[in-house]
């Protein structure tokens, strides 16, 4: 059964983790039936990772929980790792960042996944949870937020931060607004109302997107940042899957979703963003440039990235995000299997692990940031006695 289970997990389209668990479960059961004769598609990736020496097997089981934004990345890593190491089980519950950090701090899970780095009081509390050792944030999963639109006669659309802020705060309400026309002189923009979609649920995507608007268009965006959408107007939809579906279904609409929702999207096209260095398309490669050129705070393995939203580096896609794993540098109890945690993180930070991310709509880390991340994982390895 485990192999069928893994195979079916692999077939899940992105986004199941975000919406109803019940749906996701029933989907698992259904596709598990259908895929009983199919070859596990994680096998080639697992073989490649083994051959590259990026996977070292540790038997046992760990529980982890946290951010749903990184759930599909972790699921992918888990599939490959478990395929290579049939004796290990890694169970990541996408319960949300807040709940994940809480579960980590109360020692219910071996590590937590979180959209925002754990800092301040929570990080101090983690000291106790790790038996007197510091806990660290490791940025492992890069991502990007794409602004997507649905205009039947417009094949490419360029916007700048202040226009995006105008659209999403209902200051710009029609597609033939002079501000949009000025950026797209050749596009056949319709004389139609803009149907703007945002997230109706609390979401890290909303937090990152509104942070971006506040940083890049402070004159046009004076709403709260955070997980709740506070700008007036627009329509809320639950989860990125439904924002994406709503944009696909509604002509003349616009919304913001995670990059992975661009893969085989019908009717939705990505907006290229121009911050002064020319229009940049949302791709994993372009977002990776922003991540590796952003300043980061690094101390004893703890890495907190301060993403440079206003970047004008050529080809750097500005609305990039990174999500973290919060882990103990040492002091994890034996039944939470510190060795497996360390080896799993090592695989995730390896070339094979990061390469997998690019294939499923996440952003692989690169450059100096990746080197720092590997050093942090090294600290965890050391703490686990490996």
């Amino acid at each position: 059964m485990p192999s069928a289970h893994q195979a079916s997990r692999r077939y899940q389209p992105r986004g199941v983790a975000v919406s109803g668990v019940g749906l996701a479960l029933s989907g698992l059961v259904l596709s598990a039936c259908g895929s009983s004769t199919t070859v596990n598609p994680a096998i080639p990736a697992a073989e490649a990772a083994m051959a590259a020496g990026d996977i070292t097997c540790i038997d046992g089981r760990i529980q982890a929980a946290g951010s749903s934004a990184q759930a599909n990345a972790i699921t992918e890593w888990v599939n490959v790792y478990q395929t290579a190491c049939p004796q290990s089980t890694i169970d990541y519950q996408p319960v949300g960042s807040g709940a994940g950090v809480e579960a980590f701090l109360s020692a219910q899970v071996s590590f937590g996944g979180t959209d925002a780095a754990v800092e301040g009081e929570d990080l101090d509390n983690a000291f106790e949870r790790c038996e007197g050792n510091p806990a660290i944030n490791i940025p492992l999963v890069g991502g990007a937020i794409a602004v997507v639109y649905h205009l039947d006669d417009v094949d490419s659309l360029v916007l700048d931060p202040s226009t995006i802020a105008g659209i999403f705060s209902s200051e710009i309400t029609r597609w033939n607004d002079p501000a949009i026309v000025a950026l797209n002189p050749d596009a056949a923009l319709p004389d139609a109302a803009i149907a703007q979609f945002h997230r109706s649920d609390s979401s890290g995507t909303t937090a990152n997107f509104s942070d971006y608007l506040e940083a890049t268009a402070p004159d046009d965006w004076d709403y709260d940042t955070g997980k709740e959408w506070t700008a007036p107007g627009g329509q809320g939809a639950r989860g990125s899957d439904q924002v994406s579906a709503s944009v696909a279904q509604t002509p003349n609409s616009i919304g913001y979703v995670e990059l992975s929702y661009l893969i085989d999207a019908i009717n939705t096209k990505p907006v290229s963003i121009d911050q002064g260095a020319g229009p940049v398309e949302p791709t994993a490669q372009n977002a990776s440039i922003t991540l590796s050129t952003s300043p980061s705070f690094t101390e004893d393995g703890n890495i907190v990235l301060d993403i440079d939203y206003t970047t004008t580096v050529p080809d750097a896609y500005p609305i990039s995000i990174v999500t973290y794993e919060i882990v103990c540098t040492a002091g994890l109890s034996d039944n939470q299997n510190p060795a497996l945690v360390a080896e799993f993180l090592t695989f995730a930070a390896s070339d094979s692990g990061q390469e997998l991310l690019g294939q499923i709509g996440y952003v692989p880390l690169s450059g100096g940031l990746l080197a720092d991340v590997r050093a942090s994982v090294g600290v965890v390895m050391q703490g686990a006695g490996r």
């Binding site: 949300g96 609390s202 506070t230």
Partner: protein, 319 residues
């Protein structure tokens, strides 16, 4: 002076079976009250922290930022949305539900009546997520032209007007879907009530030369009025608490908007479903506080219904 005096019951004649049964039923009754009290206590207990550090007025504030610093949130928008969507659902569902029940009971040939009754009851068995997805992906595109028609021809009625020229994710759509969801409740209970109208009343009115409509108006409806009110109130209870379908369909914007064809609306239950996953501790406490508000609204609705039913009973002419 009765003709028959029952034998006097002495203490010794109470049998163990009677005693045990009485005890069991009493325990069940008290248990239900206990559970209800425990829920109320839990809601109050858990919502205290968020109520204490809220910097907005809980009844009038129209923001939802319980995890911000300082926290600021209020339930006005949620209560408005909950009541407004439910009201629209009631306006649509109650006449249709009662009409269906009357048709099944008094007009339809027996075979059709049984099939139709079964089909209506079947609606109650459809999970609400299905209604939500159906409403979002199938029904919404279909109803947009109707909403456009409403706003362009009846736009002079304030709540049909549409200033945004956008017609999706509206309270109207949510009201329609909710109406379909509460229809089986309203219809099934009304049907049960109509069956209980004394045959004597019906036959007497027909014998006096009443048409079928007159019979329904004079014999059935007065007798059934309390029951129909109960049916409507049970439907309302379901509409108030409906979560996932509303969460999917409504736009969930934090503003009070009477215009039912514009994208807007929110409800207590939907807001809990949408915000719980990413809420921190104060956010959860605030969500529980809204749950407490819904609990008391439902309580008030049910108590009002019971009061109406009791008051009407005296005048129904049925007893």
């Amino acid at each position: 002076m009765s003709l028959f005096t029952p034998p006097r019951i002495t203490g010794s004649s109470v049998r163990p079976g009677d005693r045990n049964f009485r005890f069991t039923t009493t325990a069940a009754g008290i248990g239900v009250l206990g559970v209800l009290a425990a829920i109320a206590a839990f809601l109050i207990w858990q919502s205290i922290p968020a109520l204490q550090n809220n910097t907005g007025n809980v009844f009038t504030n129209q923001q939802w930022l319980p995890d911000a610093d300082p926290p600021e949130w209020g339930i006005a928008v949620l209560i408005f949305g909950t009541l407004w969507t439910s009201l629209i659902a009631m306006v649509l569902a109650v006449p249709i539900g009662i009409g269906t029940a009357l048709f099944i009971t008094f007009y339809a040939p027996r075979r059709i009546a049984r099939t139709l009754g079964f089909v209506v009851d079947l609606l109650a068995a459809v999970p609400s997520i299905i209604f939500g997805l159906w409403g979002l992906y199938y029904f919404m595109p279909q109803i947009v032209p109707a909403a456009q028609w409403l706003s362009s021809y009846l736009g002079w009625i304030p709540f049909f007007s549409n200033d945004l020229d956008l017609y999706t994710k509206s309270i109207l759509i949510a009201g329609f879907v909710l109406a379909i969801m509460i229809l089986p409740t309203v219809s099934a209970i009304s049907r049960e009530v109509f069956w209980q109208v004394p045959k004597g009343h019906i036959e007497a009115s027909l014998a006096l030369g009443a048409t079928r409509w007159e019979m329904i108006r004079m014999a059935v409806l007065p007798f059934s009025r309390p029951g129909m009110i109960s049916a409507a109130m049970l439907g309302l209870g379901r509409a108030l608490g409906e979560t996932i379908a509303v969460a999917l369909i409504l736009s969930a914007v934090f503003e009070i908007n009477w215009q039912i064809t514009e994208p807007s609306g929110n409800s207590i239950a939907a807001n809990i479903a949408l915000k719980w996953g990413e809420a921190a501790s104060n956010g959860r406490s605030a969500l529980i506080a809204t749950g407490m508000a819904l609990f008391f609204i439902t309580l008030v609705v049910n108590m009002t219904a019971r009061w109406v039913v009791n008051r009407r009973r005296d005048f129904s002419g049925a007893n």
